[in-house]
Amino acid sequence: MSTPAVTTPSRWRALTRHHLFWPVAVLIALLLVNVPFTPDFFAIRMADGHLYGSLVSIVLFGSPLILVAVGMTLVIATGGIDLSVGAVVAITGALTCSYISDQADQNALAGVFLAMGIGLVAAVVCGLWNGFLVARMGIQPIIATLIIMVAGRGVAQLITDGQIITINSEPYKLIGGGYWLTLPFSIFVVAAVVAVTVALTRRTALGLLVESVGGNAEASRLVGIRSRRIKIMVYMFCALCAGIAGLMISSNTSAADGNNAGLWIELDAILAVVIGGTSLLGGRFSIGGTVIGALVIQTLTTTIYTIGVPTQTNLVFKAAVVIVVCLLQSPKFRAKVFGAKGARTTAPAEPATPADAAPKMEVSR
């Protein structure tokens, strides 16, 4: 995770070299853009017994994306990609809400937990299927996961009967729309998932194994890593994250919308992963970067709403920002534009492709 071995750099240089520097800089810049349009953008006050403010709503509405993106990070680290997460979001929300809506007492805790369990199990099964196709059948991840991406939305519609299922369950509302200790409950869920992921991947050898599978699956298998099992596991984990996000999204509006829940979230998640500095080639990843990346995207969305970008130009505005962010992320671009003087002194320490964290195993391909 640390910066490459640079000999005696200045503090500033060390800072700008940190792999999270550019994502964080963009996030801060985006937040600051809001201030002229919303003078009390950073203000947080109490409303209705909980904290309320722009920052709170960015985290609240961004939570599902963070979760999906964290799962996606691990899949991408193995050199794969998971396009099915949006459909998994829809399936989980649809199953859970339709189960809850069939209950006599929608507020009964047991029923809600069982419903969530059913939803999450379905999500994990989707992940198992993806992993099976990718690892066992050797199908390209983009094709393997496309199956559920396409079919899954049909399944979600089938479950909801094509309707939007509205539920009135206070306990279920907590996960994605409720508050605990004055903070959105979803923050705690996200924090827990991120903490567990970081602990599992950085405190154990699991992260290294994931990266080595991404670096070169065959080589890792030859050195004794069960690369297939690792792959199946990351797809299941990714689907589980998407499942929790699905619970959150449906709980946030107390409704399951088979058609629109999590629509295009897979693309936002991939974007978040990339903004966070994880290479799509696999072999290395940064969970922290992904969280920042997801926050950048959510802040961008909120910014569009608050600064009054005309609706017709929303996507152009979004695209422009994303292009700038991606360019800033590119070492080559930075070297060309503002690195003219700095690049000379540190050129030897910065390889063109900073795949420093991953074992260099590509050569044997």
């Binding site: 349009f37 919303t38 953008f41 409303a47 209705d48 909980h50 309320y52 403010g53 722009s54 709503s57 509405f61 339709s98 396409v150 079919a151 939305r153 049909g154 399944v155 519609q157 089938l158 479950i159 009967d161 094509g162 309707q163 939007i164 509205t166 729309g177 999204i249 946030n252 509006t253 107390s254 409704a255 919308d257 088979g258 058609n259 629109n260 829940a261 969305t301 909120t302 569009i304 709403y305 608050t306 600064i307 009054g308 609706t311 017709q312 929303n314």
Partner: protein
């Protein structure tokens, strides 16, 4: 819950998304006779998607009306994507259906495929939404007048404001529908028309953004609006679902929907009426989705070579809060 029709709907939806809609599934039992030879009218219908309760009611109305009339219906769900809809229409042309009907996802970009239908001599009927194409390319539109719905929304807002005793400036937030969709463009246009003509000085739309006709969209956009413009007096949402999402955002901000912020929405789905009976929505402008029977009449006339009106408007009305409780049991969708 998992009946056969829904399974087919889902299956067709799946095929459409995959871009495999070249062979649209048949809705109902398949017949081996070619459509040219048989007497029953085959109607190819491409639906926008199933984004809301309104749309589902619309789909059901078309399906049941086709069944009642004894027509063979080729149903295809475009899942909000124009390319799916175009490929569905092309497949209808290839199958030589008798009449094509569709609810366009967006207003532009239809000329090429409509010309193909014209040269194949298949009449095209638009439902619910219109397109910006040469008038000769379709025979009729069965649907609502969205511009008028916008006007009606502005008119009913006058009543709402009067009833609430609101005096002086009115700051309006607008939740637009999907960008580029006819209802979004025209509802905004109609609303603005009345506003510019009669309330130039006292009404102002302070913020306006798309909520994509969804609850989640409405909630998220409204949450941002409330941050950038905490002094919003009125919310005009282009459909009930966005309004319902916005209500949650308003409540999260510690305000009372229907009191602190007056809400006018369009559509009149059941959940909207429930919210209105709870006092959270002040007025609803109805947009009637049950146009199936009217569509089948047009299809019949067109197929027999008869003349139809260019625009067959659906029957609609407006509802204030005090009418909500009485109207609620009669809502079918």
């Amino acid at each position: 819950m998992l009946n056969r029709r829904n399974f087919l709907t889902a299956a067709v939806g799946v095929a459409a998304t995959a871009g495999l809609a070249a062979c649209a599934k048949e809705d109902g039992s398949s017949s081996n006779t070619s459509s040219g030879g048989s007497k029953t009218i085959t109607l190819g219908f491409s639906q926008v998607g199933s984004e809301s309760g309104w749309r589902t009611a619309n789909t059901d109305s078309v399906k049941s009306a086709a069944k009642e009339a004894g027509y063979k219906l080729q149903f295809s769900d475009a899942q909000q994507k124009q390319e799916n809809q175009i490929s569905a229409i092309r497949s209808f042309i290839a199958q030589k259906v008798d009449v094509i009907a569709f609810s366009p996802v967006v207003v532009t970009g239809w000329d090429a495929v409509l010309k193909e239908a014209q040269s194949a001599k298949i009449p095209v009927v638009l439902t619910d939404r219109s397109v910006e194409s040469d008038e000769s390319l379709f025979v009729a539109l069965v649907g609502s007048d969205f511009t008028d719905e916008g006007r009606r929304a502005a008119k009913i807002l006058e009543k709402v404001l009067q009833k609430a005793g609101h005096k002086g400036k009115v700051k309006i937030a607008q939740l637009e529908g999907t960008t580029g969709a006819a209802p979004a463009i025209e509802r905004a246009k109609g609303f603005k028309e009345v506003m510019d003509a009669e309330h130039k000085d006292d009404w102002e739309i302070v913020v306006s953004q798309t909520g994509d006709f969804t609850r989640a969209g409405g909630k998220q956009v409204m949450a941002a609006f409330l941050q950038s413009n905490p002094d919003i007096d009125v919310l005009f949402a282009h459909n009930d679902d966005m309004g319902l999402g916005a209500i949650q955002a308003i409540e999260a901000a510690g305000k009372k929907p229907g009191k602190d912020i007056l809400i006018v929405t369009v559509d009149g789905v059941k959940d909207g009426f429930i919210a209105m009976s709870e006092g959270k929505i002040n007025a609803i402008v109805e947009c009637n989705p049950l146009l199936g029977p009217q569509l089948m009449e047009v299809v019949k006339t067109v197929h027999e070579g008869g003349k139809v009106e260019r625009w067959i408007k659906t029957k609609e009305s407006d509802f204030m809060q005090d009418q909500a409780k009485d109207a609620l049991p009669t809502r079918k969708y």
